[in-house]
């Protein structure tokens, strides 16, 4: 920066930024596992849910394989901690609806049965799921963030989300030929926060 740059004058924001964005795991080989928020049964229900939003199929990995549930689990223990209660209550209500409507918790139902549960949640007809539509939309939105966001946050495993939509990855500088219509650039599979993420 030209002129004065009071870089020593650490702001709250830059403290937050350096705290969250310079990962401890990047500095040590014996990486500490990142904090998560969900109990194993809750995680299982969440995976059964997001798996139907984007199933693994002939096109390749789905939401679970992309780490979308990992993203949600980690963010609920961090940036999205305020949403944990609503989200886990929603998951419990979905499981309870699955039991009533199909005789088993979500994770034990077939793909078709799970689709029926998700459809009922999406259109608000699933009995006793509080704010069902809002819950569905929120989980879908977080699934998209987990599939297509930077792997730094715990999702987009092996950059499978970016490969799915053929996003060629964040580059710090982009040449004219990288903006051509007929020749999309080769995928650059890298996190904005370095090569320790996404693999």
């Amino acid at each position: 920066m030209p002129g004065k740059k009071p870089s020593f004058d650490l702001t709250r924001r830059s403290v937050i930024a350096s705290a969250t964005l310079i990962p401890v795991t990047a500095l040590t080989a014996t990486a500490q596992a990142p904090a998560t928020a969900l109990a194993p049964a809750q995680k299982k229900t969440l995976e059964a849910f997001v798996d139907r939003l984007a199933p693994k199929d002939e096109l390749g990995p789905g939401a679970v394989e992309c780490g979308a549930a990992n993203y949600i689990d980690r963010q609920l223990a961090g940036y999205l901690a305020a949403e944990k209660e609503t989200l886990t209550a929603g998951l419990a209500a979905v499981d309870s609806y699955a039991r009533t409507a199909h005789g088993a918790p979500l994770a034990e139902l077939s793909g078709e049965q799970r689709d029926a549960v998700l459809t009922a949640v999406e259109n608000g007809s699933a009995a006793d799921v509080p704010n069902a539509r809002a819950f569905f939309n929120r989980v879908r939105r977080l699934t998209l963030e987990g599939m297509f966001g930077d792997p730094y946050y715990g999702g987009n495993t092996n950059f499978a989300g970016w490969d799915l939509i053929r996003y060629p990855g964040p580059r710090l500088a982009v040449a004219a030929e990288d903006q051509k219509m007929d020749k999309p650039p080769k995928p650059y599979r890298n996190s904005a926060y370095g090569s320790n993420h996404g693999h």
């Binding site: 920066m1 030209p2 002129g3 004065k4 740059k5 009071p6 870089s7 004058d9 702001t11 709250r12 924001r13 830059s14 930024a17 350096s18 964005l21 139907r52 939003l53 984007a54 199933p55 199929d57 096109l59 789905g62 940036y79 689709d115 998700l118 879908r140 939105r141 998209l144 963030e145 599939m147 297509f148 966001g149 930077d150 730094y152 946050y153 989300g161 970016w162 799915l164 939509i165 053929r166 996003y167 060629p168 964040p170 580059r171 710090l172 500088a173 982009v174 004219a176 990288d178 903006q179 051509k180 219509m181 007929d182 999309p184 650039p185 904005a192 926060y193």
Partner: protein, 572 residues
Amino acid sequence: MAINLKPVDVAVVGLGAAGGVAVLPLARAGLRVAGIEAGTWMDPHKDFHPDEIYNNVRGMVTTGDKIRREAPTFRTDANQKAQRGGPSPMMNAVGGTSIHYHAQSWRLKPWDFKTVSEVKRRYSASHLPHGSTLEDWPLSYEEIEPFYDTVEYEIGVSGKAGNIRGVLDATGNVYEGPRQREYPMPPLRTTDYQENMKAAARSLGWKPFHSPAAINSQPRNGRGACGYHGYCDRGGCHLQAKNSTCFTTIPAALQTKRLTIFDRAQVTRIISDNMGKVAGVQYTREGKEYFQPAKAVLVGSYTYENVRLLLLSKSKPYPNGLGNNHGQVGKHYFGHWDAQAGAGVNALFPMDLNLWYGAILSQGVVVDEWADDSFDHSGLGFIGGASMTAYMEKHPIAAAAGQTFGQAPEWGSKWKTWIHENAGRTASAYIQANSFPYENTYLDLDPDARDPLGDPVIRVTSGPKENERSAALYAQDRMEQWFKAAGAVAVSKGNPVGPRLSTHTYGGTRMGDNPDTSVVDKWGFSHEAPNLGLLGGSVFGTSGARNPTLTIQALAWRTADRLVKAWKSIAV
């Protein structure tokens, strides 16, 4: 008791796009300037990232802590109770919102400054929007032109002139007012997509041109050129190629050693003396209260906070708020009818567009045929229109979250197949309609909602407008035509319902000659408190069909220049 600080010549409240420019002519003239800013410096190496979650999902560069605490309430008519409208995307930082803005840097049109007389001349008075409080600006395009020129060269704007002293060039915008010389830099790099959109526009008989942008298209003043990395929208520039005031005018002002920055300082009141002149500003910093005496005060804290500060600053000479003895503070407010107000248009193409990288609106192609008074409005039932920009840069989450144009469900295997093929084949257009002030649209203090200091927040009252909606719908049809001429197989249009809280808001301290219909004079100084100047969109009387920042900066420079030249009559 407030701690008294050493007096300065000028206190500037807010070091964003407006205050960050005003400090430079003041400091260069040798005045001692205190720049008082609620945020602090951001570090391009630590605080800016090519990361959609950081920039676009979480707004780490767009919304400061202070604005979150004092987010205005919103309602569509005076009979409703206003509700908290969510944070407005204004940054508290040195550089403010110019850190993360799209940097499209427009001059308003001559028409924007004299809309009332032009409408009467070309059509009739009955064509003016019903219920509007429109009036001509107290200055003409010709009077502001030298300041546009100064700011374009000081901060650095890339573009192609369409009208130099009356000589037209259709590779620039032929609808712009005459400028004295070419832009300091050529436009940002073109792309296949933009060439495709330009060819389509020309096939319709239109004259497309590249966006004017406060982004370096080539190295300039020791900083590099744009890297087109695709995280310009709501992000800071890691290359410092975006000409935010924290990289341009503020460092230049610091070099004079006449500017002192007081960061993390929240101004709570502007203090006046018994004679009705302002005496300085009061602010809080880390729980302590300070008084900064000044011979003149320039307030550039964004439309909502400019109005709030005046209304909160009551005193004996100003029992209804500073400079509000005529009851005009908060009046003539309006938001911009743009894509955020529902005026956007989306398209699906049958080929990969490769829009991923770029510099958002600044690496764009614009059509101005349907803006302002570029076309005959006889029989249309509205005045104004909209500029339309087809642009580069899209992000993966937003691309996957986009609509499927009725061709696929929104989840499941079929959706996955659809986004695999089409996430890279959709494009959006940015539409910005000419917007005007109305009697039933205004700002005041909310009777209930307060910030943590106990001060009321701003209440926005802003309802539907027939004129602007008609203009936006008209422009959306033109945009659909443009996309289809470029090969789009499906187009969808938003529902222009009107602006809520926005980064494009205007009025509240309108500029005018008449104290009964405006708050500041043609120079930006209060009709009532002679040494109080207002900076920002809050002084605008019309929006234009384009982004406001360059006009805000030209006016900020002009107000500061006026203060320097008329120092004895204004400040002493």
